[in-house]
Symmetry: C2
């Protein structure tokens, strides 16, 4: 029965649905319980202390839903909360930073790797630290792109404004002649086209969600908890708030209809504090 | 002693500091206690139910700081929570919608008034309802501008991207030949230049914060609680989170140095629920 438990995924909001999509594609028979902290989104502009506290509450909520592993599908939370969560809980905790870094290390040819993410992810230098643990010679250039999240959520992917903003953010990375660029925020795959055009077709984009889904598969295999089911896994969605545009934006992220979404009371969530 | 109590101001984050600036300019001798809910910002993309709950907690926090009046310096919270707050508390509660609407009614010559705000403010049609209570013949055109807040907070006021985004948002209002435009979000005064250029120099921009500051003066006068002090009022700042960029962004909004900011524990805030 342990094997048929769901995989838990949490994010600050709906961006993590791009990661759910990757996991479902790599592991179609696994069930997934998703929690999006939409009442307290975004995390990228908040302090590390606050992000860690929220992450503990979110992980506890998923464990109450009986998950066999926890995926932190938020780069900001991954960059500060993973060690705390691993200390507190016995299930595997998979973040975005290690998988994305590992893939970038394998991909780069010239050793110049770019990282784009929220202010919090970049100021924590989480990707640089992870990459340098494996190879000190890699030149890592990190760039915060705070306007990318609202552009993605508003559906302005192909606008001239998005192109101008991408050019402003990505020029410093172009000047460093990176050959690999990590999309260090779960929203960014939605902007992959404009990012690719701006940074140049020769640069390889790394989707941390794809990298993380692969690690989820490896981890479940390692602990012997891969589902035996032949049926398509079920997906259950929980959020701390259901704003009016939720269904529309969620469909944009997941590229599939979301039938039921359950609201988690914020008082209850807050009561799960560390 | 009642007269020397501070005026309480709360906002979802730091945008309300533009309102504090207006109040301090109209009422320089009044002391102000400001609370910015930076751990749960923004409100504009959240449900009405959640925004009401947060607003009650914020008001209760200010009352514990002994305020003689409460200014809801957030259009989203004003558009949904004012009636609830007035029912619950005996001090005057001043929002953004009534003052901004009143000023627009006085200003318009052709009866075509534009309103720009967050998704929540616009979908609540709070300004339309308020204006139509006084004059049913006014044509009110509301437009959500969700990308304006991140542009303002990132300091992209004068960028080409801001100009493109402003053009996209404001074209429908231009087509309706408005002669008055209400800046229905406390962040928007920071973008006043690009908004004015885009909508046309002949359109009058209404800063709801200026309108609200005037109403605060009227209300304090009406209840006989205007400060007798000749000294400059003191300002105390409380926030639910202190992110790394707080001081920089706050200085941008208030155009004055903020010496001390106190963090309010989120557990405590949540314990004040309605």
């Amino acid at each position: 029965m342990e094997k048929e438990k769901p995989v838990g995924v949490f994010d600050s909001g709906i961006g993590g649905l791009t990661v759910v999509k990757r996991i479902a594609s790599v592991l179609p028979n696994e069930s997934i319980v998703y929690f999006g902290d939409t009442a307290r989104v975004p995390y990228g502009s908040k302090s590390n202390e606050t992000v860690i506290e929220y992450s503990i509450q979110n992980a506890k909520l998923l464990l109450k839903k009986n998950v066999k592993a926890i995926v932190v599908a938020c780069n900001t939370a991954s960059s500060v909360a993973i060690p705390v969560l691993r200390d507190m809980f016995s299930v595997p905790v998979i973040g975005m930073i290690e998988p994305g870094s590992k893939m970038a290390l394998r991909a780069t040819r010239n050793g110049h790797v770019g990282i784009i993410g929220t202010r919090a992810t970049v100021s924590n230098r989480a990707y640089s630290r992870e990459i340098h643990q494996h190879n000190k010679d890699i030149k890592v250039i990190e760039q915060a792109c705070p306007l990318f999240v609202p552009l993605a959520e508003e559906g302005w992917h192909e606008s001239d404004a998005a192109a101008l903003i991408a050019k402003a953010y990505l020029s410093p990375l172009r000047e460093e002649h990176i050959d690999t660029l990590v999309l260090g925020c779960t929203h960014y795959p939605l902007l992959a086209n404009v990012i690719q055009r701006t940074i140049g077709e020769e640069v390889l984009l790394i989707d941390s969600g794809i990298a993380a889904a692969e690690i989820v598969r490896e981890e479940l295999d390692r602990i012997g908890l891969m589902s035996n089911s032949n049926a398509m896994g079920r997906m259950d969605f929980y959020v701390s708030d259901i704003p009016s545009t939720f269904a529309k934006v969620a469909a944009l992220f997941l590229e599939r209809e979301i039938k039921q979404v359950t609201k988690v009371d914020l008082d209850y969530l807050q009561s799960l504090h560390g």
